[in-house]
Symmetry: D2
Subunit: 300 residues, 4 copies
């Protein structure tokens, strides 16, 4: 089928490529003239036959909201916008409601798979009205792997909600591997940490794509010496913890993984200054920098 794609960066560009490979017609718009087929959203609307389907793949937050506002001006009743970026599920609901007044349908799609998706297919989680999702089914099946599928997780917002949860789970899994790595590396008993991870790829309970990636990373740099222990977070981990708090769901693992990322980015920890200051206060100034318990430093 025919699809407009807005945002032709790494993700959008790869997805457009995969869709074309599968025989779909993709008309793309991007701010970068080198990447795009049309020079404006208005031209994009003109190039597509009604009812149009537009896939958005732009940064979350204001860029996505603004693009949707601009699209609303050039689209018509009956058209469909698929928000494939990382919008918050609450934003999806607001956008969908605003577009509904103009007769424009809205579907949200969480996309996983990163740079590997073009070749292997993406994981796609969709939220929307069943009839809207059905219209775009050829697109979803072309983007997903041959032997797997996409899911319609629920109404508008559900796609991004479950993608958010997916990322939260991912945070926990990554941190579990990370802690295991550090413990093996810190022990004086394990001689072959990369080989151990490699052996786990067959027959064990922890075998997973993340394990495959970790083995690949350790092959390139067995001690990870070229990499700093500095980890960004994408926002979706934060949203997962906040949604868990909103729903009174205990999320100790996902939150611990998120907080470890926060801490990794601090040159010095204000919180640990307080701990150090308190130890100094009750233990006396002169022992602060020692390895002893300042509260209890017997002599002799």
């Amino acid at each position: 089928m025919q699809l407009g794609m807005v945002g032709l960066g790494k993700m959008g560009g790869n997805m457009a490529g995969r869709l074309r490979d599968k025989g779909h017609e993709v008309v793309g718009f991007d701010f970068d003239p080198e990447l795009r087929d049309v020079a404006s959203l208005a031209e994009l609307a003109q190039r597509l036959a009604a009812p149009r389907t537009i896939w958005l793949m732009v940064p979350a937050g204001d860029p996505t909201r603004e693009t949707i506002d601009q699209l609303a001006e050039v689209l018509e009743s009956g058209d469909l916008i698929i928000e494939g970026g990382n919008s918050h599920y609450a934003d999806d609901r607001k956008c969908a409601e605003a577009l509904r007044e103009r007769g424009i349908a809205y579907v949200d799609a969480g996309v996983s798979g990163g740079v590997w998706g073009r070749q292997e297919g993406y994981g796609i989680m969709v939220g929307g009205e069943p009839e809207d999702v059905a219209r775009a089914e050829p697109i979803f099946t072309a983007l997903t792997p041959d032997d797997g599928g996409y899911v319609t997780a629920g109404g508008v917002g559900a796609g991004h909600f479950v993608k958010m949860v997916h990322n939260g789970i991912e945070y926990g899994m990554m941190q579990a591997f990370a802690e295991g790595y550090e413990l093996m590396a810190a022990s004086d008993i394990v001689d072959d940490v990369p080989g151990t991870f490699d052996s786990w790829r067959q027959g064990t309970v922890v075998r997973s794509w993340l394990l495959d990636l970790l083995v690949r990373a350790l092959r390139e740099d067995p001690g990870l010496e070229s990499i700093r222990g500095y980890a960004q977070d994408s926002g979706e981990g934060r949203w997962t913890v906040q949604a868990a708090v909103d729903h009174a769901v205990p999320a100790p693992v996902i939150s611990a993984a998120l907080f470890a990322r926060f801490a990794s980015r601090q040159d010095d920890s204000p919180a640990m200054k307080v701990v150090a200051a308190l130890r100094n206060q009750f233990g006396g100034h002169e022992v602060t920098s020692s390895g002893d318990d300042p509260e209890q430093t017997p002599g002799s």
Copy 2:
């Protein structure tokens, strides 16, 4: 090659079966007369040609220690014991030292794979002297999948150390999926939780054997209504946390997963009695059971 197998329960029995399928000669001993080939450890020693190789697959702790003591009496210098159970790595070192005085070699092997291992192959992590490990290599390769292998993680104890860490990672991964499940189930936005997990099996970052198993469990019981939220722990999760503390390695995710299991087994929480009692104390008796903040319950 020829192998003595001590312990023919679910794990030992399946492993003996796989080894025989691969052409090895296994002489088995178990307390259960129906399962065994020989009636005693002494008879086992007689049936095997020196230098012997004996694989132990008995419960960790006293049963394993006692079996090793008894084997030491019937084996000879030059024989090899492979401890395939769940011994603590510190116990491995003690056993190996005691056996060395008698000239008996000791290798520890952590085994992963559960009931699926007979068919798919086990993950095997080995600790020991290279020449001792080399003697048993045909056994290790027969037990592991065709396309994967075992690892010699280090000296004696390293096999059980990395198996312990493997299980700790496993705890964290399982808890990450568990928290994600609960959040999706608690929201009113996700209509198809089992289908969402199923969709993640292709193209996403969280794809893994544990995800495959979770999808299987949800197919059998989509709301997990037949299962109580009561989770045992095997000891290896505990050892992982204790080893992390010993090595000053932060392990917030693995410990959180362990503590969640502890809490799942409590009918009532002594700790939370204290929290409830404190809220009662500072908020006044009559508000304890209400949903309000007893510290700050304005009127009107």
Copy 3:
């Protein structure tokens, strides 16, 4: 000075009592005719001389917002509203902005102290413009203990922000005592748990008002047998975690304390159903209910 008090429940009533004891004139309104001095907000406005100062002590959220809307109708430019309830700091900012258009000043005040405050004085944390705070200073000093004071933490919202953080810290402290209690009670080594807490009231690092309250609770019920381990949360603990996430501040202790409360209120844990189901899947059905590691259950 003269003060209107809206909300004469446990907190508001006690505060009004303390203010009258200290010589201030309090005119109170409440929905309960037995508690109030005036029958309506309009009558309250009539009874107070301009410029008026009104203290709000009603439940957070809609009740507070609605009361402020109604007050805006009966107050005049130059009047001052002090929001003493548990509003979120972001709501304070919205309210203050709306009232500013009518010339009505707004100060937010976080109040701590619970039922003990009438006698011992309250802890009060204030947010607002300095000139607005200064107008109400006689009220703040009357409510706080003789030897201590209130703080102006910052502009509008800062009072509730720091009160929120105070409650988050309180969650962490309570949970620390709770974990220590459970560990002593679970050990077979401590014969006198209540006496141990009592001894800590003098000379130790953990001496605190919460410890005093815990000792009092243990005197009433040494094994806390009459109390269920079921703990509510007030909303401010949740806000603290969400604010920490918003600001990329690691908050592992406060979040762990919050999650422990969430878990304490669950009859069964959906998350732990997943963990149990996964153990069942990889260990085989028949071992689910046993205490053994289903992944690794050697025989014999």
Copy 4:
């Protein structure tokens, strides 16, 4: 009464001073000739009338064990050793058993209070047989504050067990204040963080000695700029977590506080290298250092 004191460092020296102020006779030994009254343990035994009471205040572990071994050679049946250092409760039990064969009694005493104890009195938690504890009661009451007391928490080991738990609770409380501090400092809403903590000293739920100390630290250095966020741990926090794991007691707050200290001492985190490496793997090399979600970086 007469007491031998071994170890006259900051803790032991202050305790000896307080005991002398209270009218007790203290004969002290230390390796430092400037501090001691006697030149050897043998001379110490000679100077004390039988039955002797010796208080040990030397570093935990080997120094304490060796000192006890040496004391056993110079003491007689009927004498009493009080181990006032930071021994592990399991070591207490071993020492007591060994000494019992020689007729020497053993009492363990956990001491809290730091440099403030000389003036304000120490918190003392005792473990031992009631008749042994009774013999030393004058010492315990002289060391503790006038209005408070010591506790006999249970048999041998119980004193150090509850001191260990005390320190674990202390870790959790300190971290709770620390997280609250960081959140207030990170926000743009709180102008007076030191003043806010100061205001909490009266009337609030979090009032405590640690809060007093934090206020004192913030008076000296309002932004804690002179202090690095680097926090040692004394071993007792580790033991608390390990004891919790042994007893299947959930300890999420105490362990989180411990892990935060571990992390504060790392220049770079091996675990977070893994997280960074994994993000790099699935997101593509060129986005690793950006703030975007490498898994999902739409273009435009």
